[in-house]
């Protein structure tokens, strides 16, 4: 889920897709909260939460070090780097807006807090120059992170020799899947927020449609990966691969999970081929929820269906979540939404300064109403993502 943030912030920024301005703050916030939830888990996985510092290579009297050959430790570095850069990126983008909040604050506490966070921003020309440069550099730094984080997450699986886990397409496939599910989550939250807070004139149908198109593309990329995995399982002639894909996934005890995944991730976004459907709020809301479900099932299918039938037939079984599994999952959802609602409460959910910059009125040659020369329409064209 945490992936749409960097994609929208960094990649779309570098591709001059100005329509991103109305959703980037939102997506970045979602990214940071999702990463926070994710970072809870290594702590749990260590087994003794109070020993969580063992994950880091800290010199200690026992000379105990993490296993640097393990993808799990790479994961710690990848995700924490990603979290750091995402927070920096988010915060730098926030500075002009925090200054606006400071200027409009009515209570002393708000003035002090927003004032401290705005870092003395006065909107001077020099400030903007530095700001633009810093933003550009952070965007360039974030772009490789879009690839690295989920590639490393995929290494957790793919470096093993487990059929269904070890396959070379995993890194780009995980990246595409992460962007896909990230966009779906942004869409779900955005539609709700848009309805509640009435920002329909800022987050327009055009934005939603473009997001739906991205979901169509990334959903199809994920579909390509599913297909190639299946194809290679049969092309390779490897009976273990074939067993996992045919007997454990497509048919077998978890077929229901597998086909839920396929239907939600590959088939449901195909509805967006139709302009009518991809501009329909109810349709896109349902599809975005389906994709969230489908991407949850993707991880479930990858993990459960490669493990529930072990190499030893004696240890075959059927995965049933315990109350601990369910409570842990519910807990992360709770953490995520708590943080997210606090964000909506305290921080501008739309990048005010950036949206101002792409409004038609921001153009020096803007002539209100009735004028039809080319210049007046240029920003509108830019908003349309044409450029």
């Amino acid at each position: 889920m945490g992936h749409a943030g960097t994609l929208i912030s960094a990649v779309l920024f570098l591709f001059r897709q100005k329509w991103r301005t109305s959703i980037n703050r939102f997506a970045e916030a979602m990214t940071i909260f999702a990463v926070m939830c994710a970072l809870v888990f290594p702590g749990i996985h260590v087994g003794r939460v109070w020993m969580a510092y063992y994950m880091f290579p800290l010199p200690n009297q026992m000379s105990m070090w993490p296993n640097f050959k393990s993808p799990l430790i790479w994961d710690i570095f990848a995700v924490s780097t990603y979290a750091t850069v995402s927070i920096l990126f988010w915060f730098v983008g926030l500075i002009p807006d925090l200054a606006t909040l400071r200027d409009r604050a009515k209570t002393k506490i708000r003035k002090t807090v927003y004032g401290a966070l705005a870092l003395g921003w006065r909107g001077a020309n020099r400030h903007w120059q530095h700001y633009e440069r810093a933003y550009m550099i952070l965007a360039a730094l974030s772009t490789p992170l879009v690839l690295s984080v989920h590639s490393v997450v995929s290494f957790d699986f793919a470096t093993s020799v487990l059929p269904g886990w070890h396959t070379t397409i995993f890194p780009p496939y995980f990246v595409a899947g992460a962007v896909f599910s990230g966009f779906a989550m942004v869409m779900t939250l955005m539609l709700l927020t848009r309805a509640v807070y009435g920002v329909k004139s800022i987050v327009t149908m055009q934005h939603l449609e473009l997001m739906n198109k991205i979901m169509l593309v990334t959903g199809s990329l994920v579909g390509y990966a599913y297909a190639i995995e299946f194809f290679i399982a049969f092309y390779s002639g490897n009976e273990y691969e074939q067993w996992v894909f045919m007997k454990n996934r497509a048919t077998g005890p978890f077929a229901w999970a597998y086909w839920t995944m396929i239907s939600c991730n590959v088939i449901s976004p195909q509805l967006f081929w139709s302009k009518k459907l991809r501009t329909s709020i109810p349709v896109m809301f349902v599809v975005s929820i389906l994709i969230n479900i489908g991407m949850w099932f993707e991880r479930f299918v990858i993990i459960a269906t490669s493990l529930f039938r072990d190499f030893i037939p004696g240890s075959w079984g059927y995965f049933r979540p315990t109350y601990v599994d369910i409570a842990t999952y519910a807990g992360t959802l709770g953490l995520f939404f708590t943080l997210f609602l606090l964000f909506l409460r305290w921080i501008p959910m739309i990048a005010v300064a950036e949206v101002k910059g792409v409004l038609p009125e921001a153009d020096p040659h803007y002539h209100p109403e009735g004028s039809h020369d080319d210049h007046a329409h240029a920003p509108a064209a830019a908003l349309a993502g044409g450029e």
Partner: protein, 495 residues
């Protein structure tokens, strides 16, 4: 340039047609296609001649088959990469790239000749693909008579007879003729044991490979292979020609309908493109080593092709620019953007290459590692570094690291000559990449002294393709003068 009288720096879209966008008068590019045609016929002629001279089971014939496949794949990758460039511009309704797009369209139009250029590959399929003639052969037969070393199916059988003549080398014939691949006597002695065919491990492996191949027959069989090849060429000719033809027709029609059509076409086009490129890669490159497989391979080929196409587009437009055309239509802003794309996708190529290598190396599965073994070691027993190790490292250093450091600077991407150097380096390394994908499959039978044949084939095939492309250039405007988004491209500036 006729618009020089107007104050505007960029030519206006309304009068875009003119001598600055057409090859006219004494422009040297007008006759380039004739030269390319001549060179192409000569190059392909020489290589086919060399291949025919040796006779069907000769080393020369075998080398010709690989050389030609290599030349074909390099050319194909540039044409397919250009198709993707066009598709993505239509899909994103890109304005900046309109003037550049025509060059890609010329390159894509060349896909219609690729089917003809494929014929020699098809004729040599039995030499190239170990599985082709191994069809239905009983495993025992191979294990006792023709098998040498640890990789029979992945090695080649045409040399099985020679093996008997030179048992003291314990390796395939032809290998003794050149230095550099030989171990010392002790190593030769060890190999001798392998060569006698009595090693039970070898026989077991052999039987296993035949067992596996039998399971791969549903894909690797004659009829399906041929049918798929026909399908790929139909799809590619359809894609390349539609994208080219509809665009040049728009030069006259100047309608928006074509633009809308091409956008809709590009959706289906992208799907067809992705599937055909992936499966053609499996058929023609992956199956050179039939036991090997990798799910990321299609993505790897795609990344390489797209980078190579971007480099080619940069080099071709720079070449046209030298002759005095496209001076104001394709400006430093466009080159800068092309440079950024090339830089970005070159990093993407490296990322895909790394992912594949990393996962195969880490897991160390016997089905997968031979791909890297034959690109690193002389043989699978002694793990002595071979010349391919240098090539593998060169890909890391010169395909990824050097262009990365060189092209990361905005300054360099905006200096056309330096950008040209970067593009030339990347294109060269892409050629090396394809070479590296194909030739290690010859194993010990690879002879450095036959490099001239590879070069002749590459120059020949690429020239024939470019003869067609360059001829298209003489017939049409060099930018899409009827595209409704042309004005945006002409006045485009990097933010």
């Amino acid at each position: 340039m006729t618009e020089a009288k107007t104050a505007s720096l960029a030519p206006s879209a309304k009068n875009a047609d003119g001598p600055s966008v057409r090859l006219q008068g004494k422009n040297p590019w007008l006759n380039a296609w004739k030269i390319a045609l001549g060179v192409g016929i000569l190059g392909v002629g020489i290589s086919i001649g060399a291949g025919a001279m040796g006779g069907e089971h000769s080393a020369l014939h075998e080398r010709f088959a690989f050389s030609y496949l290599f030349a074909f794949q390099v050319t194909l990758s540039i044409a397919l990469g250009s198709v993707f460039f066009i598709l993505i511009q239509h899909l994103s309704s890109a304005g900046w790239s309109v003037t550049v797009r025509r060059t890609a369209e010329f390159l894509a139009s060349g896909l219609v000749v690729m089917a003809v250029l494929f014929i020699p590959v098809w004729l040599c399929k039995g030499t190239l693909y170990p599985w082709w003639n191994a069809e239905n052969a009983p495993a025992e037969h191979h294990a006792s008579n023709e098998v040498v070393g640890t990789t029979t199916l992945t090695s080649h059988q045409t040399h099985g007879d020679d093996q008997v003549k030179e048992p003291e080398h314990g390796e395939h014939a032809g290998q003794g003729e050149h230095a550099g691949h030989h171990g010392d006597h002790a190593e030769g002695a060890v190999k001798h044991d392998h060569a006698t065919g009595h090693d039970p491990n070898d026989e077991a492996l052999e039987a296993e490979e035949h067992h596996l191949l039998a399971k791969k027959r549903w894909w690797l069989n004659h009829d399906f292979f041929n049918g798929r090849a026909v399908l790929y060429f139909l799809v590619w000719a359809f894609l390349g020609w539609t994208l080219y033809k509809r665009s040049v027709d728009q030069d006259k029609a100047k309608d928006f309908k074509t633009t809308n059509f091409l956008k809709a076409f590009s959706t289906i086009g992208t799907i067809l493109f992705a599937l055909s490129l992936t499966f053609a890669g499996v058929d023609w490159i992956m199956s050179l080593q039939p036991m090997w497989f990798s799910t990321i391979f299609g993505v790897y080929l795609f990344a390489g092709s797209f980078v190579a196409a971007l480099a080619t587009i940069i080099l071709v437009t720079l070449g046209l620019r030298k002759s005095g055309v496209l001076l104001k239509e394709i400006t430093v802003e466009h080159y800068h953007d092309l440079g950024k794309l090339m830089f970005g996708f070159n990093v993407f190529w490296a990322y895909i290459a790394f992912s594949q290598m990393m996962l195969i190396w880490y897991a160390g599965l016997p089905e997968e590692t031979p791909f890297y073994h034959i690109r690193w070691f002389t043989d699978e027993v002694h793990h002595k570094a071979s010349g391919w190790q240098t090539v593998s490292l060169a890909l890391l250093g010169l395909h990824f690291a050097a262009p990365f450091v060189f092209l990361i600077s905005r300054n360099i991407k905006r200096r056309l000559q330096l950008l040209g150097v970067g593009a030339a380096l990347i294109l060269t390394m892409h050629i090396v990449d394809i070479y590296w994908l194909i030739f290690p499959n010859l194993r010990e039978r690879f002879e450095v002294s036959l490099l001239w044949l590879d070069i002749a084939a590459l120059i020949g095939v690429a020239s024939l393709y470019f003869a067609f492309v360059l001829h298209r250039m003489t017939k049409n405007a060099l930018i899409p003068i009827g595209d409704p988004r042309l004005a945006r491209a002409l006045t485009f500036e990097n933010a």
